[in-house]
């Protein structure tokens, strides 16, 4: 299992030592890709005020020129108001033009909220979106088990009191499918502006999101260039510091910003702080000996084996998201 050329596993193994060189490489790749492979004049990018879209936008601005990048804020009724504030701050910092396209009415037209709320009410008959917020969370004993995460729906009343219940499969699928209108609507709007300007769409997912399937097919997974899709989250933060992303954005806890109630990405999907997730995913992808990983991570080899088995399951069950259409 252990490769002689492999560096010993350590908590520092993901640090990018020559950050200047890595940034220059990414900038060159974006420029080459957009201008010479895709034959487009610039890039549009959805900016949420989160770390991933901020780093992607900063790289795109350096690669294509600030005048050839359009940042688009795409809020809807459940979006945090902080998102717009931070996104604008980012655009100002990099001197990139930013516009707002509110997609609430489009989502209403598609029945996004009505379809989602109908499914939530089968679990919580008292749920009324005027008086409650809602979110989907994970109900299980974490990553160190062979059980996959079990999703539950949580409603939060105006006093902040939470109630959670597990959701039967048909209702859970309906909530997810309805909520996915949001990412797909954003993708449509980004392509509208990209085609109008003869630009490319710059996607913002990081390595975990792509490889673990934390994206919506033909939604935030729909883009022409994904400049940070090879980077672990801690590496995205390293770039953020180097590129001068506003501190408020760097300090902000990553959220899904999809449901009306506040929800972190850790709570919704990853189940671990990203520093730990990065190291475990790296160890898994690079086939490190679970015993070696266990001693660094201060866990048992059995726990690490369970985490790795869960990762394998995740790759397998999300493969559909990364597949291109089947053709004959």
């Amino acid at each position: 299992m252990k490769n002689k050329d492999k560096r010993p596993f350590s908590k520092d193994i993901l640090i990018i030592h020559d950050i200047d060189a890595e940034c220059n490489r990414l900038i060159t790749n974006i420029r080459e890709g957009v201008l010479h492979k895709l034959n487009r004049l610039g890039g549009v990018i959805g900016i949420s005020g989160g770390i991933d879209s901020s780093v992607s936008m900063a790289l795109a601005a350096k690669a294509l020129g600030t005048e050839n990048v359009l940042g688009i804020m795409l809020p809807e009724q459940d979006s945090s108001s902080e998102s717009a504030l931070f996104a604008q701050k980012l655009a100002d910092r990099f001197d990139v033009k930013a516009i707002t396209e509110n997609i609430t009415e489009a989502l209403e037209g598609l029945g996004c909220y009505q379809r989602r709320d109908e499914a939530v009410r089968t679990v919580f008959p008292e749920y009324d979106p005027l008086h409650y917020k809602m979110k989907i969370g994970i109900r299980s004993s974490g990553l160190y088990t062979n059980l996959p995460p079990l999703f539950s729906v949580t409603i939060v009343d105006s006093k902040g009191k939470e109630q959670s219940k597990h959701v039967p499969a048909p209702e859970l699928r309906q909530i997810e499918a309805a909520s996915n209108f949001k990412q797909r609507c954003r993708m449509s709007m980004l392509y509208y502006h990209a085609e109008r300007l003869h630009y490319a769409v710059i996607g913002t997912p990081n390595k975990h999101e792509v490889e673990q399937g934390f994206f919506v097919k033909h939604g935030d997974g729909g883009a022409d260039v994904m400049p940070i899709a090879h980077l672990y989250k801690t590496q995205v933060y390293q770039l953020a510091h180097y590129l001068g992303i506003p501190e408020e954005i760097i300090d902000r806890t990553p959220t899904s910003d999809t449901y009306s109630a506040e929800q972190t990405q850790e709570e919704f999907f990853f189940q671990l702080p990203f520093q730990q997730m990065d190291l475990l995913w790296y160890a898994f992808k690079n086939k490190y000996d679970p015993q070696e990983v266990a001693s660094v991570m201060e866990r048992t080899a059995d726990e690490i084996n369970k985490v790795f088995a869960g990762f394998e399951r995740k790759i397998k069950t999300t493969e559909y998201l990364r597949m291109t259409p089947l053709t004959n």
């Binding site: 062979n146 059980l147 996959p148 995460p149 597990h166 859970l172 069950t317």
Partner: protein, 86 residues
């Protein structure tokens, strides 16, 4: 609701076979169905819903441990314990 152990096991096995498209010979009563990766998150939700509807039980957060779900034998014991306590 029946407490006939063999009927419970057969009911669970039928569900697993239908839900996972697994080879019938590979799913034994002591097969570690989660460790072997037969179920993803949605499959687990479907299994829980199926158990609740078929056996009239309600699962709580405390019930969601591997020991209760790792095999058909484990699930059967779990159902019997739950029905005895309800």
């Amino acid at each position: 609701m029946t407490k006939d152990i063999s009927v419970i096991k057969e009911t669970i096995k039928e569900h697993i076979l239908q839900a996972t498209f697994a080879d019938k010979d590979k799913i034994q009563n002591d097969s570690l169905i989660f460790k072997e990766g037969y179920f993803d998150s949605m499959g687990f939700v479907v299994l829980i819903t199926f158990l609740e509807e078929s056996f009239g039980i309600t699962t709580t957060d405390e019930d969601l441990i591997e020991e209760n779900f790792e095999s058909i034998d484990a699930i059967t014991s779990f159902i019997i314990r739950k029905t005895d306590n309800q």
